[in-house]
């Protein structure tokens, strides 16, 4: 255990459960305390979980292409809820179709996400980044 808590889940009307379980497993294995809000989760579900568990980061998954709509105002709501410097990641198939990822990344960073992952990126990459961002030493 590294003492850091991460809230994970699949946002919006998205029922993709498999990746969610894999992320849960991988993060736990890497020493994080994982709080999984599961599929079909609203922004409020993530935020409420983060408040009660005093989380250090939220990792949002979205597989069905509507991530950009589901994530509007997420950072604002975090700030409003007192989660000021919380680390926010998102990954999966976060937009519809094949779009230039540089643009996609810019749009999500604009929404307040610290890191944005393209389709096909392995969770290990996210874990590496998370350790860096949370100053976790191996």
């Amino acid at each position: 255990m590294n003492g850091k808590t991460v809230v994970i889940g699949v946002i919006g009307s998205d029922v993709h459960a498999v990746g969610n379980k894999i992320i849960d497993y991988a993060l736990t294995h890497a020493g994080f305390k994982v709080v999984n809000v599961g599929v079909l989760s609203s922004q409020e579900d993530f935020i409420n979980a983060a408040i009660e568990t005093n989380a250090d980061a939220i990792m949002v998954s979205s597989l069905y292409g509507h991530g950009e709509i589901d994530c509007q105002g997420f950072r604002d709501k975090c700030n409003e809820s007192g989660l000021d410097n919380l680390i926010l990641y998102i990954g999966g198939n976060i937009v519809v179709g094949k779009q230039d990822f540089v643009e996609v990344e810019a749009r999500f960073k604009n929404l307040g996400f610290n890191r944005v992952y393209a389709p096909g990126v392995k969770i290990e990459a996210g874990i590496e980044d998370l350790k860096k961002d949370l100053n976790i030493k191996e």
């Binding site: 808590t5 998205d14 029922v15 709080v35 809000v37 079909l40 979980a49 408040i51 009660e52 069905y64």
Partner: protein, 460 residues
């Protein structure tokens, strides 16, 4: 000579006695009289006892146990962090312990809210917040404020365990010893842990509350005032559902208790989805769950019932009745007993609405989400579609000519598929009003209580 237990319910309006022959497992008699909490609670008790009129040469009363909801019941406020999470969890724990939850508070408490709590004259304050290892800041801040302002009111701390040491220091520094710590009511996200809190509430109730309610005169005569009445009903229901070490219970069940001021619903069921492909959302439900509808009652709350149900809906059940004045009259005369047919019909209609609304609010519901992969379903709360036993109790149901019809309002309706009320339950009526008495009895003699409930409520 047979041994008998005298079981007493010091209710808000009536003191009800049940005398039980524990050897033959039969009810010898029941009686009631107006509760006299303002003068001496024993006056009402003596009056009811005189009415029992049992054969003293045949029965020897070996024990007297009581529950109470007199003098306003057990009044509590609860504090948590997020409204949907620890606030809700702490509220459920308090309700399950038979308390009247006057108000709940979320996040950091303000000075104004402290004043508000002071005015409410509560019996116990429950403080929770944060999962274990989660948020500490809020509960510690709230503990400081509570420790400063409430030295007389007992407090239960049931939040993030990692905050307990600091909270203890806070109370010690202020020489405030009026608190108990117990397990977190929400140890991890959406997990609910109500039983330790319930037990602490009961402990405080037995130790402190009896005296503050002017019931110490009863204590000399009675072996114990064990718990608030609603907790006794829940306890009795739980024994009936789950059974004892020796005997099986009947399985999942629901009890609807319609009173003058509130309508209580108790469900003894896990309430997991009964159909495939349903996603369970939100805070987990306790197996033994009690909800209280403070706005649905036959007398004191008749006006708020009218407001909640709307006149047009009442008129669907019963035409040509001026429900406004009928409810006003009931509100003003809480001891009103309907005698003619019309008044009985009005009471029946109010009871139907109370049952319907209280059940709608108690059970879970299904929310449809439209996804690119088709419809998906979220279940929030308990799925009670397949529950087989629906038990009615409370004055209006017991005295109704057609109590089954009232209870039918608490079943699943094709017109609203999303509300997960039982589809085809067998309906039973607790005619002798013994559930709370059996809850008390089950503390000493669970097997006897179970067998008697089966006999007297289910007719087995």
């Amino acid at each position: 000579m047979y041994n008998a237990y005298l079981l007493i319910d010091f209710g808000s309006t009536y003191t009800k006695l049940t005398l039980v022959d524990i050897d033959q497992e039969i009810i010898i008699g029941t009686s009631n009289a107006i509760t006299t909490v303002d003068t001496n609670i024993m006056i009402g008790f003596e009056e009811a006892f005189a009415k029992l009129n049992y054969d003293q040469s045949k029965y020897k009363i070996t024990k007297k146990l009581a529950c109470s909801s007199a003098a306003g019941g057990l009044k509590m406020v609860t504090l948590g962090l997020v409204p949907e999470l620890t606030v809700e969890a702490s509220k459920r724990a308090a309700l399950g312990a038979g308390a009247r939850v006057l108000k709940t508070y979320s996040y950091e408490i303000t000075n104004e809210e402290i004043l508000e709590i002071k005015k409410m004259k509560v019996d116990i304050i429950l403080l929770s917040g944060g999962t274990n290892g989660g948020n500490k800041k809020t509960i510690i801040n709230n503990a400081k404020k509570l420790a400063d302002h409430f030295k007389e009111i007992p407090m239960i701390i049931a939040g993030n365990k990692c905050a307990n040491d600091e909270i203890k220091e806070i109370f010690d520094e202020r020489h405030n010893t009026n608190y108990i710590m117990t397990e977190n009511v929400m140890p991890s996200l959406n997990e609910i842990n109500v039983i330790p809190v319930r037990e602490k509430i009961r402990e405080i109730f037995m130790k402190n509350i009896i005296k503050s309610k002017g019931m110490d005169s009863a204590e000399e005569f009675i072996d114990g005032i064990l718990m608030p009445t609603p907790a006794a009903v829940l306890k009795g229901s739980e024994i009936l559902a789950k059974g004892t070490d020796r005997f099986d219970g009947i399985g999942d069940l629901i009890v609807v208790d319609i009173g003058g001021a509130t309508t209580d619903v108790h469900s003894l069921a896990d309430g997991y989805p009964t159909r495939a492909g349903i996603n369970l959302k939100g805070l987990k439900e306790p197996y033994a769950k009690r909800t209280v509808e403070g706005d649905l009652g036959m007398r004191y709350s008749a006006l708020s019932l009218l407001e909640a149900s709307k006149i047009k809906n009442l008129n669907k059940y019963l035409e040509d009745v001026d429900f406004e004045s009928a409810c006003q009259y009931r509100h003003d005369h809480i001891d009103f007993v309907p005698l003619d047919e019309k008044e009985i019909a009005i009471d029946g209609t109010l009871a139907k609405i109370a049952t319907k609304l209280a059940m709608d609010r108690h059970v879970g519901n299904i929310e449809t989400v439209y996804t690119p992969l088709g419809e998906a379903f979220n279940q929030i709360g308990k799925d009670l579609l397949e529950v087989n036993y629906l038990i009615g109790t409370g004055g209006v149901i017991i005295h109704s000519n057609n109590p089954e019809k009232i209870m039918l309002e608490g079943t699943f309706k094709d017109s609203d598929l999303t509300i997960l009320k039982p589809k085809q339950p067998n309906i039973y009526i607790d005619k002798l009003y013994i559930l709370s008495a059996m809850g008390l009895l089950s503390f000493d003699l669970p097997d006897c209580a179970l067998k008697m409930m089966k006999k007297y409520i289910l007719g087995l």
